[in-house]
Symmetry: C2
Subunit: 212 residues, 2 copies
């Protein structure tokens, strides 16, 4: 491929330009990665979930607002509490998954901006502006859900993200009395490749993108 | 790290379990990756933008709905058309960036579901349900924006994502007469490391996550 970065120190900045990841890494992140409905009976260690969060939280959010909040439902009790709020097709597979990450966003995220974005009064951009708060929390919490998916794949975990659940029910069961709202669920584990069907089709470049 | 995947064929599925990416790859994707306001004067080739889209489009969306639509503003004319709709702090840096990806979502995404998700009548889940359409397009288009950021980093590009712009103005300038709505802008290029300031703080695990 022409025009690519090479690992040479850049004279102007001192920065070492990176190279693209290897083909195997791109496969793991994108080309071979799939949504799994079935996982191998193999535990996801707690320290790996810590590592996952410590990566995903580094992804960019607007004004570093970082609204995502995550409950990793790993115990049978936690998964049973989730079960009645899942759409029927998501129930059994989630009960059998090693972990289900309940990914929400905190509508009070802006209270933390004096710490997260200290060089200006970013909190004042949001106070009293409910629609802007909701949109910012939803957009950035969703970006962070995608960072979690990509970080999981980078750590050799497989994902089964879902939006087929009753958000009000999940909020009542897990976030009652808080300002957190559920957004996306993501089963995590080591996927059972035997359960995969062929990947659904994707658009061609020209159908969804243009260089102008 | 205990309990990690090893590259052994799995007897049950035939699948070869992956290993975590190397520390250098995790650095490139997350730990050393930063939001850049300034880029080196170095072109981003068109074929790299094609490769970028061909990776990001593989990321998961609900019912494979794939609502993201991307205009890569690379010409001076396209960037000049964008300029008046950027918030002041985003103007000059975007004019100087090699490319600005205008990432939108198509509110008519469900028209494509018979092709993208052919095994059921998913189109009927959305027809006539404006709020569900809007929420699904926004959520999944935002997931895809994050996939684009991660794919760009995987290809050794640097990103400068932004939401500081007038969406109505961008829609009028670039998506008039279509069902596409702008969501996130993302400058792309080879970042100038000399322009970086220290990374803003992040939450600790226990402040945003819990294993239950």
């Amino acid at each position: 491929m022409t025009g690519r970065a090479s690992r040479k120190p850049n004279a102007e900045s001192g920065r070492v330009s990176g190279e693209p990841l290897t083909a195997a890494a791109l496969d793991q992140l994108f080309r071979d990665a799939r949504t799994y409905n079935k996982f191998l009976p193999r535990e996801v260690p707690d320290d790996l979930l810590h590592e996952l969060v410590d990566l995903m939280k580094l992804g960019p959010t607007s004004a570093n607002c970082s609204p995502a909040r995550i409950l990793f439902a790993k115990s049978e009790a936690a998964k049973a509490r989730l079960k009645p709020h899942l759409s029927e097709g998501n129930r059994d597979k989630t009960m059998l998954a090693p972990v289900c990450a309940i990914i929400g966003y905190d509508l009070a995220f802006y209270e933390h901006l004096p710490r997260l974005f200290p060089h200006t009064n970013a909190k004042s951009w949001f106070e009293g502006k409910d629609e802007k708060i909701r949109e910012t929390a939803f957009r950035n919490g969703t970006l962070q859900a995608a960072y979690l998916i990509m970080a999981a794949r980078a750590l050799a975990l497989d994902c089964g993200p879902m939006t087929g659940f009753d958000p009000a029910g999940v909020d009542e069961a897990f976030f009652a009395g808080t300002t957190v709202r559920s957004n996306i669920l993501c089963n995590l584990g080591y996927g059972d490749g035997a359960s995969l069907k062929p990947r659904s089709p994707r658009f061609a470049f020209d159908e969804i993108a243009e260089i102008i």
